[in-house]
Amino acid sequence: MAIVTLSDVHKVYPLGKTEVHAVQGVSFDIEEGDFISIAGPSGSGKSTILNMIGCIDTPTEGSVTIDGTVTNDLNDNEITTLRHKVLGFIFQSFNLVPVLNVYENIEFPLLLGKSIPAKAERKEWIEYIVGEVGLDRWMNHKPNELSGGQRQRVAIARALATKPRIVLADEPTANLDSKTGEQIIELMKQVNTDLGTTFIFSTHDHTIVEIADHVIRLQDGKVIKNERRSSSDESEAIGAGSGTTADRAGE
């Protein structure tokens, strides 16, 4: 069963007296363990879709199902719990808590739950993920003492702290130079392989899209290509619900 399912999702934003139809009938499935890129030019609706998968925005029409739960009708606390348990977030601007050091930033989500793991247990796990992202020697530093790439590594570690099944990353490389950006995506891919975490990231950078094994390409709020690649680099198109799949498949 798919871990994420969007079916006929629409999102309309009011804009002054008119409306912006940011997402227009999008449907797709994401399988657990996927490393997915949501690609498309600026304004194509990538962020809007990621926000709806991340349960921080709600569709105007259609439904988003996360791990078997239809998210539309959950209340604020239920949604928050779902986000906390199932989802991890990586932001374009890193969004670390400035007054907390690296260790504390990574620990932070662990302290938000109903059952907080014991201190020793937390320590062991945090040290493991800090090792994964290669920041062992920066544990006691504050975010403003780190480079952009380092900050995004902290953010990745923080997103992994609660052992979520899905990590969402909206243009995680947009504020980084291309070399650092690639390293970040490679790190994410590494975690995806090591821990089996599903990664969904958006980007408008072609080179980065290449690393994904499943690409959903958007244009003007519609899916124009939904393509799963096997590890042997063959491409395979998956039927997209909106029926707009193959329009520009040859891009």
Binding site: G54, I56, R83, S93, R158
Partner: protein
């Protein structure tokens, strides 16, 4: 939950200047609150001890109809009409003596008069008619005898004069006056009109406690105060008949007769100290009443007989003075339930405007503090709103990664409470320190008005527990109130705002 305080603390440290400014406002406010309330509490406690131990007892019982027991000179002047007499005195005393929680009982008659010596001089005396033994048991060491002796039981025609009245008399009469001298005391009452008694000075005293409003109190033998007040046997029962006498007098002397207008309505000081009266009536007799002029001796005989059970007030001393408020309520309930025509007051009601002023001052001071607190709340709130606004993406991020609304609320409240409690405590401690220093050195004043508020010429304030507890409660409330609005803004921050950053 430690993470909340960690974040709150570091945010406060991060914005040091802002924190210090807000903190100083809070600390200063608490300092003023503690010092002010400690000083006022000490003054109030001093006044309370001074009054209850020396003048009023813990509870004052009067006859029904009395609105304020006029134990001090200011209330004696403002009182309207004659003070009613306690009904069924002996039964009442027996009842009160046996009352649970009452440890001592002391009856009192009050009057006010002018004094002269050998036709000259002028002094005001506030008269306390007391049972000497009972009084001195009730107030064992409230006075200092400078000359002579206190009243003795069954003594007649005697006065124990206060130094203040004595000085007034000596100055105006331009001669020394001492024990053994005889003075002429003139009073007016609504029942039998003007009365003059010649009294021998048995002693000269002063109250040990400083109380401006009691400086003119002199003790007078019971028969004499009753005659001066018109508390005679028949009159106690037949006030109306007595009232007829006064109108007779009025008609008699109304036409510019012997005494001019000095017999007009009694009780006003102008009449009392008009000065014409004593010169007009030259006498060495100890009592002058107008009935003798009328030649109606039978009336004189009747009126001359004082009512030995006529008293104005009964003061009560309690086993536990802290119970006064409760017991006053209880007594008043039982008085009305038992059909007893009595009314009970707390000591403060009889202590006159001066003692009450300190209470009023305390209320005014605390209202001022409330105003200051509101201003402080607004300042703190404003600053917090700014800091919440600056942290919208941060708070949005926390919400996005799993912080519930409640967490955000507690984070904001923790920040405000931390600043309020930490700086508030510093202010409270500083206030305790300042109070301690003031207590050690003592606040001195030669200003009489200030002395009234201070309860004496030197005030050594003691830190009052209530002021510390109240201040702490106040600072916590300020913190909570100040965080309500900023917290509501923070609660409105949606997780999606974490994304809208560039």
């Amino acid at each position: 939950m430690r993470v909340l305080f960690r974040i709150a603390y570091r945010n406060l440290r991060e914005h040091q200047t802002k924190t210090l400014i807000i903190g100083s406002i809070i600390a200063l406010g608490m300092l003023v609150l503690v010092v002010g309330n400690s000083v006022l509490d000490t003054a109030t406690a001093g006044i309370e001890t001074s009054y209850t131990q020396n003048f009023t007892g813990d509870i004052i019982i009067a006859a029904e109809g009395v609105e304020t027991p006029g134990l001090t000179i200011d209330s004696a002047f403002t009182a309207e009409g004659a003070t009613p007499i306690i009904p069924d005195f002996d039964e009442t005393v027996a009842y009160l003596t046996g009352y649970d929680g009452v440890s001592a009982v002391n009856p009192l008659i009050l009057g006010i008069a002018s004094a002269q010596i050998e036709g000259t001089g002028f002094g005001i005396v506030q008269l306390y008619g007391v049972d000497p033994e009972r009084y001195q048991t009730f107030f064992p060491d409230n006075i200092r005898l400078l000359e002579g002796s206190f009243l003795t039981p069954e003594q007649d025609g005697a006065i124990v004069l206060s130094t203040a009245s004595l000085e007034m008399l000596e100055e105006t009469a331009a001669r020394n006056i001492g024990v053994g001298d005889r003075i002429l005391v003139t009073a007016q009452n609504e029942i039998t009109g003007t009365k003059i008694r010649e009294l021998e000075i048995a002693g000269i005293f002063e109250f040990i406690a400083e109380a401006q409003t009691l400086q003119l109190v002199s003790f007078i033998s019971l028969t004499d105060i009753r005659i001066l007040n018109g508390m005679t046997a028949q009159v106690s029962d037949a006030v109306i008949a007595a009232a007829d006498f006064s109108s007779d007098e009025d008609s008699l002397f109304g036409g510019g007769g012997l005494l001019g207008d000095t017999t007009a309505a009694a009780g006003t000081s102008d009449d009392l100290f008009g000065g014409g009266l004593v010169e007009a009536v030259e006498t060495s007799d100890s009592e002058i009443d107008f009935e003798s002029i009328l030649g109606d001796t039978s009336q004189r005989d009747l009126l001359g007989q004082t009512d030995e059970s006529a008293w104005n007030y009964i003061l009560l001393r309690l086993d536990n003075p802290d119970q006064a408020e409760r017991m006053v309520a209880e007594l008043n309930r039982e008085f009305s339930a038992g059909g007893m025509e009595l009314v009970a007051f707390e000591w403060i009601d009889g202590a006159g405007t001066v003692a009450q002023l300190t209470n009023t001052l305390k209320i005014v001071f605390n209202w001022l503090i409330v105003v200051v607190a509101v201003v402080a709340v607004i300042i703190i709130m404003n600053t917090l709103v700014i800091s919440v606004t600056e942290r919208i993406p941060e708070i949005g991020t926390m919400r996005a990664i799993g912080a519930r609304r409640n967490f955000v609320r507690r984070m904001i409240v923790a920040e405000t409470l931390m600043i309020a409690v930490v700086f508030g405590s510093v202010g409270i401690l500083a206030g305790m320190g300042v109070t301690g220093i003031l207590g050690a050195t003592g606040i001195e004043s030669s200003n009489q008005v200030l002395q009234i508020f201070m309860g004496g010429p030197v005030l050594s304030p003691v830190v009052s527990t209530t002021s510390v507890v109240q201040s702490f409660a106040a600072v916590v409330l300020v913190g909570i109130f100040a965080s309500l609005y900023p917290a509501s803004i923070a609660l409105g921050i949606q997780p999606v705002t974490a994304m809208n950053q560039n």
